[in-house]
Symmetry: C2
Subunit: 151 residues, 2 copies
DNA sequence: CTTCTAAATAGGAATGGTTATAATTTAAGA
DNA sequence: TCTTAAATTATAACCATTCCTATTTAGAAG
């Protein structure tokens, strides 16, 4: 969904279109996997008095509307992206960057396991942790690192 | 790994065996997917002056030793379990309970995607969100609910 | 264009899980 | 029993996120 459609969708739900909201939608349209703080900092360049409350409140509205998704890359902050096609991420344990992969491993075997438990599936999360192209390269000369993360 | 072996492993690494540590290992041996606060409350019944610092410090040591794993079920608190066989979870959006599934969906297709990106895989996380047997049953008479979570 | 007001924002305080600090206690080896 | 490095307790600090409320404003109505 592009910027203009986001605006339209937002107004259609009866929300007012404030400058702060317009900028948040702009930022989300042009950058994936962005944190609330990053959004806050960017808005400040045009709206110096914007508050964190405004950023979080609007991100939560966008989540309720289903226009964005929340992501957790295990670096202590929630990240956000527009709710476009289903995909997963390769997340670098060293630099925190994420590469998107379109391949989805959700299998009929998992489906069966859920059915056998009378569990009704609403969504799933799949993440791969490791070292990205760039950090692999650096490791060759600087020595190894370990990665611990919550699953 | 059972309780006695955990103790042995812990001492072998040069750590002192305190009563607090013994109890933490006991609790972890008998309960899966337990939070720091739950551990803290349980220890208090035999060690009333135990502090949160002790709980967190020792959980972090156990993580470093690779004896336990960290889990995130999206309810705001980190959970822990002994590092036994590789498995995944069906997580209930209503009651927060988790059912373990042995089926792992990690596929050669994902492997290929990683290779094509020069990404070296260290681990992966797969979680299924939905409603458990018990909450499904309740929903039939009480009306539906929605679930939003970080992926 | 002006008025009106429900909705939104700014600024700051509060929250909650987790980590850090420093004084005191203790496990365990000599 | 002595000794001491390591561990614990109690408390403060941290930090992402949420809450509170006085003030501002988008957009509807006249
Ligand atoms: Mn993405
Ligand atoms: Mn488990
Ligand atoms: Zn998928
Ligand atoms: Zn797996």
């Amino acid at each position: 969904m592009n910027f203009q459609n986001l605006i339209k969708e937002f107004k259609k739900k009866g929300y007012k279109l404030t400058p702060q909201r317009r900028i948040i939608l702009e930022i989300l349209s042009e950058e994936k996997h962005i944190s609330a703080e990053e959004i806050y900092e960017r808005i400040r360049s045009s709206q110096p008095n914007v508050s964190f409350g405004t950023v979080y409140r609007n991100l939560n509205i966008l989540l309720e509307l289903g226009l964005i998704k929340q992501l957790d890359f295990k670096d202590g902050r929630t990240r956000f992206e527009l709710n476009e096609g289903h995909h997963h991420h390769l997340i670098c344990l060293n630099c925190g960057s994420a590469v998107e992969i379109q391949s989805c491993p959700f299998s009929s075997e998992v489906q069966k396991a859920a059915i056998s438990q009378n569990f009704s599936i609403k969504s799933h999360s799949f993440k791969v942790y490791g070292y990205c192209r760039n950090c692999n390269y650096k490791k060759e000369k600087k020595g190894d690192r370990k990665g611990e993360q919550r699953n």
